[in-house]
C-alpha cells in the first residue's frame, strides 16, 4: 500500500479514537465507544502491516498472537477488585513497548538526526520510568511488596543524583551514537522509576496510577518522533492518552487537596507519626450491634452508603447491594456517596458497585450528595475513613485539613463498619467516630453486613 493511503488509514484511526473517547462521556454510549476505538486500532495495525516498509511477517505474527492471547487471558481472569493493579501493569507494558521501539530505532540509526535522537532519548527515559514505576505500583497494589511508603536515609538525595545521571546520559546519547549508552540510559531510567514510586504509599496510588497512565501515553507520543518522518498516528494517540492521565491526576490531587509534587516527594503517611499524636481526638466511642442499627432504620426514609477501599478489600460489594435491596424493600431510599479518591484508582468504587448490579444513577458524586446528608436518617460507612473525617474542615493542624470530604457528620445517625480502631491511610484519628451520633460496628465488613441484612428483614 502506498504511503499516502497508509496515512489516510491513520487519519481514520485517529478520528475513531477521538469519537470512541467522546462516547465514553456517557454510560449509555460508552460500550459503543470502546468498540469504535478497537476498530480504530484494527485499521491502524492492518494499514501498517500492508505497508511497504514491512519486509518479513513470520516474527511479527508470533508477537501479535502471543501478545493478544496474554492480553485477553489477563482481561478475562482479572477480578474487578484488582482493576488498579491491572491498569498499573498495562501502563507498564505500554512504557516498555515504547522503550523497546525507541531502542530498536536507535540501533538502526544510519544518519544522525538531532530531532530523531531527542525523540529516542525521551521515549527511552519516559518508557523506562513508566515500566519500572508501574511494576512497583502494581506490586504494591497486589501487596507483593508493602503498600506503606518505603523510606530510607538520603532517599531524596539518591533520587536526585539518579535523575541527574539520567539527564547526563541522555545528553551523551544524543551527541554520540553508541549502543552502550543506550543500555546504560535504559537501566538508569528504570532505576529512577523504581526510586520514584517506592516511597509512595498505597493511599496515594490513585495519583500514581493516573500519572503513569499519562506517561505511557507520552512515551507512545515520543516514539512517534523517533521516525525520520514523524508518525502522526503515534503522536495523536499518545497525546490523547497523555492528556487523559493528566486530567485524572489533577482531579485526584484536587480531591486530596495536595499538589502533585507533594504526592511524589512528600512521602505522605510517614510524616504523620508526629501529626497523629497531635490530632488525637478525645471522647467516647460508641460500639453497637446489628440490632441497634435495625432500630435506627425503623421509619427511615433516606439512607446513604459511603463505600471505601475497605469494601474492595473485603469484597463486600455484593453484600452491600443485598443490604440496600433489603432497605429499599422497606421503602427506604438508598443512595451511594462516592468520593473521588475512594479506593485505589479513579472510579474504583463505581466499577465494584456496577459489578454488584447497583444501577449507576444511584451513585452520587461528592458535590451532589453533600447537601443531602442532613436529610439522611442513616449513613453507613463501609471501609472508608479519611474521606469522612470532619477534622479536614475544622482542625487546621490536621494533615487532612483542606481536603474536601463527604459530610457524613451532618446525617441524623452514622454507622461505621470497621475492622478495628486503626487509623486510615493518612494515619490520622477520625473525629467522626467520637461523634455522639456515630455508632461503630466492629468486625469483618461482610459479616457485619450479613447481620445487618437479617436485622433489617425482621
Amino acid at each position: 500500500m502506498a504511503e499516502a493511503y497508509i496515512n489516510l488509514c491513520y487519519l481514520v484511526s485517529s478520528a475513531l479514537f477521538i469519537i470512541g473517547l467522546k462516547c465514553l462521556g456517557s454510560p449509555r454510549t460508552a460500550r459503543t465507544g470502546n468498540l469504535i476505538g478497537s476498530w480504530g486500532m484494527l485499521i491502524a495495525i492492518a494499514a501498517t502491516l500492508l505497508g511497504k516498509s514491512i519486509l518479513s511477517y513470520e516474527l511479527i505474527i508470533v508477537g501479535i498472537v502471543v501478545g493478544s492471547f496474554l492480553g485477553v487471558l489477563l482481561a478475562l481472569l482479572v477480578k474487578m477488585t484488582a482493576m488498579p493493579q491491572m491498569v498499573g501493569l498495562l501502563n507498564g507494558f505500554g512504557g516498555a513497548a515504547s522503550l523497546l521501539v525507541a531502542g530498536a530505532q536507535y540501533m538502526t540509526q544510519g544518519e544522525q538526526n538531532i530531532y530523531v535522537l531527542i525523540g529516542i532519548v525521551l521515549s527511552v527515559v519516559v518508557g523506562a520510568v513508566t515500566f519500572t514505576g508501574s511494576v512497583i505500583a502494581a506490586a504494591k497494589l497486589q501487596e507483593l511488596i508493602s503498600g506503606r511508603p518505603l523510606v530510607y536515609p538520603l532517599q531524596k538525595t539518591i533520587t536526585l543524583v539518579v535523575a541527574i545521571v539520567t539527564i547526563g546520559f541522555s545528553v551523551l546519547l544524543v551527541r554520540e551514537i553508541n549502543n552502550d549508552y543506550l543500555y546504560i540510559l535504559s537501566a538508569i531510567s528504570g532505576l529512577l522509576g523504581i526510586l520514584l514510586v517506592l516511597p509512595i504509599g498505597g493511599g496515594d496510588m490513585p495519583v500514581v496510577i493516573c500519572l503513569l497512565n499519562s506517561y505511557s501515553g507520552m512515551a507512545a507520543m515520543f516514539t512517534g518522533f523517533t521516525f525520520k518522518t514523524p508518525n502522526a498516528m503515534l503522536i495523536i494517540t499518545g497525546s490523547l492518552v497523555g492528556a487523559s492521565g493528566i486530567i485524572l491526576t489533577a482531579i485526584m490531587c484536587k480531591a486530596m487537596n495536595r499538589s502533585i509534587w507533594n504526592v511524589i516527594f512528600g512521602g505522605f503517611g510517614q510524616v504523620q507519626q508526629g501529626g497523629a499524636a497531635a490530632t488525637k481526638a478525645h471522647g467516647n466511642i460508641k460500639s453497637g450491634t446489628a440490632e441497634d442499627v435495625g432500630m435506627l432504620l425503623d421509619g427511615a426514609r433516606l439512607a446513604i452508603i459511603v463505600p471505601g477501599y475497605g469494601m474492595a478489600v473485603a469484597q463486600a460489594q455484593h453484600v452491600v447491594k443485598e443490604f440496600s435491596d433489603a432497605l429499599m424493600k422497606k421503602g427506604v431510599d438508598v443512595k451511594y456517596a462516592i468520593h473521588p479518591v475512594a479506593g485505589r484508582m479513579p472510579g474504583h468504587m463505581n466499577v465494584l458497585l456496577a459489578e454488584a448490579n447497583v444501577p449507576y444513577d444511584q451513585l452520587y458524586e461528592m458535590d451532589k450528595i453533600n447537601p443531602q446528608f442532613s436529610e439522611a436518617d442513616l449513613v453507613l460507612v463501609v471501609g472508608a475513613n479519611d474521606i469522612t473525617n470532619p477534622s479536614a474542615k475544622t482542625n487546621q493542624s490536621s494533615p487532612l485539613f483542606g481536603m474536601p470530604i463527604l459530610e457524613v457528620d451532618r446525617a441524623r445517625a452514622i454507622v461505621v463498619l470497621k475492622r478495628s480502631m486503626n487509623p486510615g491511610f493518612a494515619g490520622v484519628d477520625n473525629e467522626l467516630y467520637y461523634n455522639s451520633k456515630c455508632m461503630m460496628l466492629f468486625g469483618d465488613a461482610k459479616k457485619s453486613l450479613t447481620d445487618l441484612i437479617s436485622a433489617v428483614r425482621q
Binding site: I54, L90, A220, A232, L234, L240, A354
Partner: protein, 95 residues
C-alpha cells in the same frame, strides 16, 4: 527530519493535546476506571512503531526488540479493550 517537518509534527501534537483535554474532561467520574483501561488499550498504538521496527529488515537484535515490543503492546491493546468492555457491560441504569 528537518526543522520544518518537526514543526509540522509539533502542530499535530499541540492540536491533539487540546482535543484530548476537551474530550476527556467531559468523561464523568463514574466512568474513570473504564477510561483508564480504555486509554491503556489505545496507548497500545505503540504497536505501530513496533511493527515498523520489527519488520523493517534491520539487524536481528533490533528485530527481536521489535517483536517483544509487539507482544507487549498487543497485551495492552487486547487486554485494554476486552477488560473495558467487560466493565462497561456491567453499568446499568435503574429499571
Amino acid at each position: 527530519m528537518d526543522f520544518n517537518v518537526l514543526v509540522q509534527a509539533l502542530t499535530i501534537l499541540t492540536l491533539a493535546i487540546f482535543v484530548g483535554f476537551e474530550v476527556i474532561a467531559k468523561v464523568p467520574p463514574t466512568l474513570h476506571t473504564p477510561l483508564m483501561s480504555g486509554s491503556n488499550a489505545i496507548s497500545g498504538i505503540t504497536v505501530v512503531g513496533a511493527l515498523l521496527a520489527a519488520g523493517g529488515g534491520h539487524s536481528q537484535f533490533a528485530q527481536i526488540l521489535g517483536v517483544v515490543a509487539i507482544a507487549l503492546a498487543m497485551i495492552n491493546v487486547m487486554g485494554g479493550f476486552v477488560v473495558t468492555n467487560r466493565m462497561l457491560r456491567m453499568f446499568k441504569r435503574k429499571k
